[in-house]
């Protein structure tokens, strides 16, 4: 009976219970000093440095970061589209009658996907040396695999009846595929592609934090030299760039009527007419991207040939598997998992809790929006460094840093889906005299709870991959051990760690897929008039953002 299970809006707030252990443990992590530093940091937000020299260097840093993002993104789109087509079961079935090549390729692609772009960056850095092409490749490799999965899932998730109709009419396979599957696929791929560009800018900044150049490097250097005013100049610049990009992409999406890249609600389908008009613009834009990428590539000094010229490696010690085996594996794995769960619960639970607490004051919501936007673009390792001013290095510090970053992403998602939820019940509750908090809890929260949690499950799996990013805090499990082995040139350890990490990520992916399916398919509680979610688990789009023909 449905009455035995708690209401969906309570489930929504369940993860925020993690605040209890965090609040208990946090005081023991405070090392006493550093609060004046945090104060100075916060104060500097409103008085960033205005020196032309600082701005010039921040601007050139941003240009480099943006260029790396653009090139990596463009390469991943091309690579992802090709790989996606190559790993689509429908496509193989139509052209050759077999499905197994697609399935095999899919398994293979899971490996580059399961390794975070930062790890790719650091690995390539060791092999190729510090060159601009390293950052581009580090973004392009995992992103290609991600895009490929989305393309393949979308292709295979589409209704094939139209395709079969065309095939029966004697249309050759390639033409039939393009005609039947192209138009329904385009809007969702467009919005997903746009979303990946946002991600690429974040990734490029992050790679910079680890020394691959650009604005990220400047941010880390200014933070470590406690030059907070200069730090904020760079941060506000990055903020402006990110906001511009997000708004610009949103504008294009609206213009072409593509669904929101993170939307939880079913997109309103009206694409036919406008998409055709937008098709020409899209083609023009893509054509303009080609010379742009070429120019940017030249300016940045990216030469694809660099990828084949290795730098001489330091003399490798003979593999010592005994020592590798002696690493504290159980605790490494356990720490990684605890870190992931803590950070995920913090991020997933805090967003609705904060909204609920601030519900009576509309202006507070605007403030929250700003804070979340900052949290999104502020790279987690920098948050970790900042937290180290007041906290001891450790799991909790890392979890906070990772959680804050993802809170920014989940918070925006929650706000957007609340805006799209039906407003009727909310207004009815308010007009029956319930308070603003209870009205929000009963009305909109009930409507979005399940799909939001499903997205949270997906996000937890991304966070598992991201734990390496906060590894520099130390004692965070596999992530910090990886960074340590990397700097010590212990290749045997590195290899073993990578394999375990990848296996863990894939396992987590499977687990979050199952959890998501359970959340979305709970009997009796999912409104029958809701659109069915796509079966496929899709990066950054899980619940059901894509139109279904």
């Amino acid at each position: 009976m449905a009455e035995r299970s708690p209401a969906p809006s309570l489930l929504l707030l369940l993860p925020s219970l993690v605040l209890v252990p965090v609040a208990i443990l946090l005081p023991s992590q405070v090392h006493g000093g550093g609060f004046d530093l945090i104060g100075r940091f916060l104060l500097a937000a409103v008085q960033p440095s205005l020196e032309p020299l600082v701005w010039r260097s921040a601007l050139s840093g941003l240009a480099i970061t943006a260029a790396m993002a653009l090139l990596g993104w463009a390469a991943s789109l091309v690579g992802g589209l090709l790989l996606g087509l190559a790993s689509s079961c429908t496509l193989w079935q139509e052209t050759t009658g077999h499905r197994w090549p697609a399935q095999g390729l899919r398994r293979l692609l899971a490996l580059p996907r399961s390794i975070h772009e930062l790890l790719w960056g650091l690995l390539l850095l060791q092999v190729l040396g510090l060159r601009p092409v390293v950052a581009v490749a580090a973004i392009a490799i995992p992103y290609s695999a991600l895009v490929a999965r989305v393309v393949a899932d979308q292709l295979d998730g589409l209704d094939t009846s139209r395709l079969e109709a065309l095939r029966c009419a004697g249309v050759p396979a390639p033409a039939a595929l393009l005609t039947a599957l192209g138009p329904p696929l385009l809007p969702s791929l467009l919005s997903y592609g746009g979303y990946r560009l946002e991600c690429a800018l974040r990734s490029a900044t992050l790679l910079g934090v680890f020394g691959l150049g650009g604005l990220g490097t400047e941010l880390r250097l200014t933070l470590q030299s406690l030059a907070f005013q200069e730090l904020w100049s760079g941060l506000w610049l990055l903020f402006a760039a990110m906001l511009l990009l997000e708004q610009g992409l949103a504008l294009l999406r609206r213009r072409w009527l593509a669904p929101r890249r993170l939307s939880l609600a079913a997109p309103k389908l009206a694409q036919g007419r406008r998409l055709e008009a937008g098709g020409r613009e899209l083609l023009l834009l893509l054509l303009a991207l080609l010379p742009l990428c070429w120019v940017v590539g030249r300016a940045l000094g990216v030469h694809p040939a660099d990828l084949t010229t290795f730098q001489p490696l330091p003399p490798l010690a003979a593999a010592d598997w005994r020592q590798t085996l002696a690493l504290p594996w159980p605790s490494l794995i356990a720490n990684t998992l605890v870190l992931t769960v803590l950070a995920a619960a913090l991020a997933v639970g805090l967003a609705p809790l904060l909204l609920l607490l601030l519900a009576p004051w509309p202006w507070a919501q605007a403030l929250l929006r700003l804070a979340w936007a900052l949290a999104r673009l502020w790279p987690p390792p920098l948050t970790a460094l900042l937290l180290l001013f007041v906290l001891q290095p450790g799991l909790l510090t890392a979890a906070l840093a990772l959680g804050v970053h993802n809170l920014g992403i989940l918070g925006r998602l929650l706000l957007e889906s609340l805006e799209e939820a039906p407003s009727g019940p909310h207004q009815a509750l308010l007009l029956m005299g319930s308070g603003p908090r209870l009205s929000l809890l009963y009305g909109p929260f009930s409507a979005v709870a399940r799909s939001y949690l499903a997205y949270g499950a997906y996000r937890a799996d991304v966070m598992l991959r991201e734990t390496v990013v906060v590894g520099l805090v130390g004692a965070t499990g596999l992530g910090s051990q990886l960074l340590e082995s990397l700097t010590a040139f212990a290749w045997d350890q590195l290899l073993a760690l990578l394999v375990v990490y990848a296996a863990l990520t894939l396992l987590g992916e499977d687990l979050s897929d199952r959890l998501r399916r359970r959340l979305q398919g709970a009997p009796g509680l999912v409104a029958s008039n809701r659109p069915k979610p796509l079966p496929a688990a899709v990066e950054a789009s899980p619940p059901s953002p894509f139109p279904h023909p």
């Binding site: 009455e3 809006s9 005299g433 809890l441």
Partner: protein, 252 residues
């Protein structure tokens, strides 16, 4: 005695012309009033002003002789006394019927009780009585609203109004999407509840269902055409309202 609802020279402007123009009316306890008019006449707008959801551009709104309060707490208490049956019902799909019925009590409940309602069934006896009064089976209580049929949903929404214990009922086209026999049933059900100290205002675009009402108010293009006792309503009034076509009064 004060009127439960009073509108004084209320005007609501829309994008192309006024949606309501200089409307004044009073609603007294025990009155059952039909709000008549063709679609687009401003009936829903008038109900939205009356329940406090839409602030008029000009004019005054009084509940029990008092304007909408400025203090949040007092305003919520006022709102708790005004029940609305929305055309789209506005039930919470994901919650059970019981939780939906209890949501009408949120204005009176302390917050721990409001939270507990999301976890365990509360006030089962009162909810069962409300369900019985709208002729629904008791086993519906534990079902999520999303699993109900259209007719069941409407009755649940009426039961929620009963649970709210509001003195003023505003009903927006409750019969619009029903077939003739069902609309007669629902109307009889509603009229059963319209006794003093309660009053209700029900918008209606079919003048043939006037039986059982005490008064009729005619609205056309945002203007008040007439405000008469039901017994005084003549065919000519309705012809004026609907422009001649399909006006037939059925008096009891």
């Amino acid at each position: 005695m004060e009127p439960l609802l009073e509108l004084e020279n209320v005007t609501v402007r829309g994008q192309d012309g006024p949606r309501l123009e200089n409307i004044s009316l009073q609603l007294w306890p025990g009155e059952r009033v039909a709000l008549l008019g063709p679609s687009g006449a401003g009936k829903s707008t008038l109900l939205a002003v009356a329940n406090g959801g839409l602030a008029p551009d000009r004019g005054r709104l009084l509940w029990n002789g008092r304007p909408p309060e400025r203090s949040r707490r007092l305003r919520r208490r006022q709102q708790a006394g005004i029940g609305t049956l929305w055309q789209d019902l506005r039930l919470i799909e994901e919650l059970t019927v019981q939780q939906n019925l209890n949501s009408a009590r949120l204005a009176h409940w302390p917050w721990p009780r409001a939270w507990l309602n999301l976890l365990v069934p509360l006030d089962t006896q009162a909810n069962l009585e409300a369900l019985a009064r709208v002729d629904l089976e008791p086993q519906l209580l534990a079902r999520p609203v999303a699993a109900l049929s259209g007719g069941q949903r409407q009755r649940v929404a009426i039961a929620r109004l009963l649970r709210q214990e509001a003195s003023l009922w505003l009903l927006d086209e409750p019969l619009a999407s029903l077939d003739p026999r069902r609309s007669q049933e629902v109307l009889e059900l509603l009229l059963r509840f319209g006794q003093a100290p309660r009053a209700f205002l029900l918008s209606l675009h079919r003048p043939d269902l006037l039986k059982g009402f005490d008064r009729g108010i005619g609205l056309r293009h945002g203007h008040l055409c007439f405000d008469l006792p039901a017994s005084a309503l003549q065919e000519e009034h309705l012809r004026e309202l609907y422009g001649g076509a399909d006006a037939a009064v059925s008096h009891g």
